[in-house]
């Protein structure tokens, strides 16, 4: 996940912003400053057009159709799978499972792998900065199986430590599930090193890549992740989409998750033979337009260039970091160099809800609350924070205007 210093083309942000129709609106009379990208990203016209084209020219149920439209739709949907396989450098197309989002991806693994493999006395290891979606499925399957959920601590800077990680692994550890990049504070975790250590002990690892995929090119074979999941809506794709990557050997060994059409080879009332991968895990009519639109989102990102995006976002990160730190009474949660442009903060003597509510009237969209990471917030001694999360279509000018608005709001609250 390091940027190649060479071949970086500076982004033409003005032209990029033209690709996102939603950005050009006024909110309460002020130009919209959309800083809630970690919650969901905006969609480029290319993706919107692709969805439109699907419904206008190609819509039909996929697989097993004997007619032209079904052929179009099937090829587009399965072509999207191929494109995503390539995007993530998965070894096989069978390893790419379409899901509703990361939440479903994790639930699928916790339920299907967990119910088959976990037993009393086992441990599942997660970190202290997980999203609820990577806590509760494991917690519940552990309760069901009598296993234990172990939590790798987060330090005051918002980092985990690899030596501490290694020391927490024991012969009881059966599965490890970690977030690649924290949605709460933006820290990038050393998942490649963690996976290498886990594999020394033969423990499979799932990586929750929700906040990594919008900011970095991911190579699942390079990471050697056993499972990798993310949500499409956070990476400029349609709502209701996501991917679970899983190594074939694990997916082959897991029982199906949901049952229904497409994941079945042969049914009688007594017995069912399940279909092969990836269909075994894709029961029912899928979100066809969504899968196709998700591949288009990656096409769009590639057209801008992953390295270019990373370079620009780093510039934005450092610029914003400086500006944020100048705000009177601000405390930024997490303080690591290796992060994405996500700023979680509290301001002395104010409540995040008040700040968020009033910033709205300045056209600013940020998130306030616990960001579905209650334990992480508690770790930092707060019950809620303000979170500004930036994407490559955001600008330094927006950062400046945000800071002006924030200072105005703080002044009113004091």
């Amino acid at each position: 996940m390091s940027s190649a210093a060479t071949n970086i083309t500076p982004l033409n942000i003005t032209s990029i912003r033209e690709d996102f129709p939603i950005l050009h609106q006024k909110v309460h009379g002020k130009p919209l400053i959309y800083f809630d990208n970690a919650a969901t990203s905006q969609k480029p016209q290319l993706v919107i057009d692709r969805i439109n084209q699907y419904y206008t020219k190609e819509n039909s149920n996929i697989h097993r159709g004997t007619y032209y439209l079904s052929e179009l739709a099937s090829n587009a949907y399965e072509g999207a799978r191929d494109a995503i396989q390539k995007q993530f450098n998965a070894e096989k197309r069978e390893e790419i499972i379409f899901v509703r989002g990361a939440t479903e991806g994790i639930n699928l693994v916790a339920s299907s792998w967990g119910r088959k493999n976990l037993k009393a006395g086992d441990d599942v290891l997660i970190t202290g900065m997980e999203h609820h979606a990577n806590i509760v499925p494991w917690q519940q399957i552990c309760i069901e199986k009598g296993a234990k959920l172990k939590v790798l601590p987060v330090d005051d800077n918002g980092q985990i430590h690899i030596d501490e990680f290694e020391s927490m692994i024991s012969e009881h550890t059966k599965f490890i599930s970690v977030v690649h990049v924290s949605n709460g504070i933006g820290s990038i975790n050393p998942v490649k090193e963690m996976i290498a250590i886990a594999h020394k002990h033969n423990i499979p690892v799932l990586v929750d890549g929700c906040q990594a995929v919008p900011h970095r090119k991911i190579d699942v074979q390079d990471l050697d992740a056993d499972f990798y999941t993310f949500s499409g809506h956070k990476v400029f794709g349609p709502t209701g989409t996501g991917i679970l990557y899983g190594k074939e050997k694990f997916l082959e060994d897991m029982p199906p998750y949901q049952m229904g059409g497409d994941m079945i080879k042969f049914v009688s009332f007594e017995h069912t033979t399940f279909n092969s991968l990836p269909y075994k895990f894709e029961a029912g009519t899928p979100h066809i337009s969504g899968g196709i639109g998700l591949a288009t989102a990656f096409e769009y990102v590639d057209s801008i260039g992953r390295e270019n995006i990373e370079a620009y976002e780093n510039e934005l990160l450092h610029y914003a970091d400086e500006k944020f730190n100048e705000v009177d009474g601000i405390r930024i949660l997490g303080n690591t160099k290796n992060k994405i442009p996500v700023f979680s903060f509290v301001v002395e003597g104010t409540h995040p809800f008040d700040i968020g509510t009033m910033l709205d009237f300045e056209g600013v969209a940020i998130r306030t609350g616990n960001h579905c990471t209650q334990p992480l917030m508690e770790r930092f001694g707060v019950s809620a924070s303000c979170r500004a999360s930036l994407a490559f279509y955001n600008t330094k000018e927006e950062v400046d205007n945000f800071i002006i608005a924030l200072n105005k709001v703080i002044k009113m609250l004091k």
């Binding site: 309460h28 104010t350 409540h351 809800f353 008040d354 968020g356 509510t357 009033m358 009237f361 009113m412």
Partner: protein, 146 residues
């Protein structure tokens, strides 16, 4: 200001009128914040789980008791804007009979012109607080009639 206890409806109208004087959103919020600051905070011994109305974004505390057939309300919040709105809810609803509270829905928040930002989906505890007041009003009414 009218002398004597106003009806819920009258208090609401008065609040809305007051807010119409303000120019932009920041003046309105400044007023709400001022109201929040003026409202005495709950003493620590009343900040109990049982008095808490948990919101997703902020918390509200509420106590009720019956005085001479009227419901007396006290409230607080950890968020200042919510606290200001709590002050207004108390001004409108406190010291009215259960029947008055049951039969008069609150409309002033919507009418302040800040509605979107203070709607129930923000889950700041305010909506739940109002539901809770109605619930107590029903309970007190049942008790008085029994």
């Amino acid at each position: 200001m009218k002398i004597g206890k106003m009806t819920i409806q009258e208090t609401e109208d008065e609040i809305v009128e007051e807010f119409e004087m303000f120019g932009d959103w920041s003046e309105k919020f400044e007023h709400i914040i001022a109201l929040g600051k003026k409202l005495p905070s709950f003493p620590a011994e009343l900040q109990l789980e049982e008095n808490k109305v948990r919101g997703c974004q902020s918390n509200v505390w509420l106590t009720t008791d019956l005085r001479d057939g009227k419901i007396h309300l006290e409230g607080d919040s950890d968020a200042l804007i919510v606290k200001g709105l709590v002050a207004l809810v108390l001004k409108v609803y406190s010291d009215h009979t259960p029947d008055e509270i049951i039969n008069t829905p609150l409309t002033f928040i919507q009418r302040l012109g800040l509605s979107a930002s203070l709607s129930p989906t923000r889950s700041n505890g305010l909506d739940s607080m109002i539901k809770k007041i109605k619930f107590y009003a029903l309970a007190y009414k049942a008790k008085m009639n029994s």
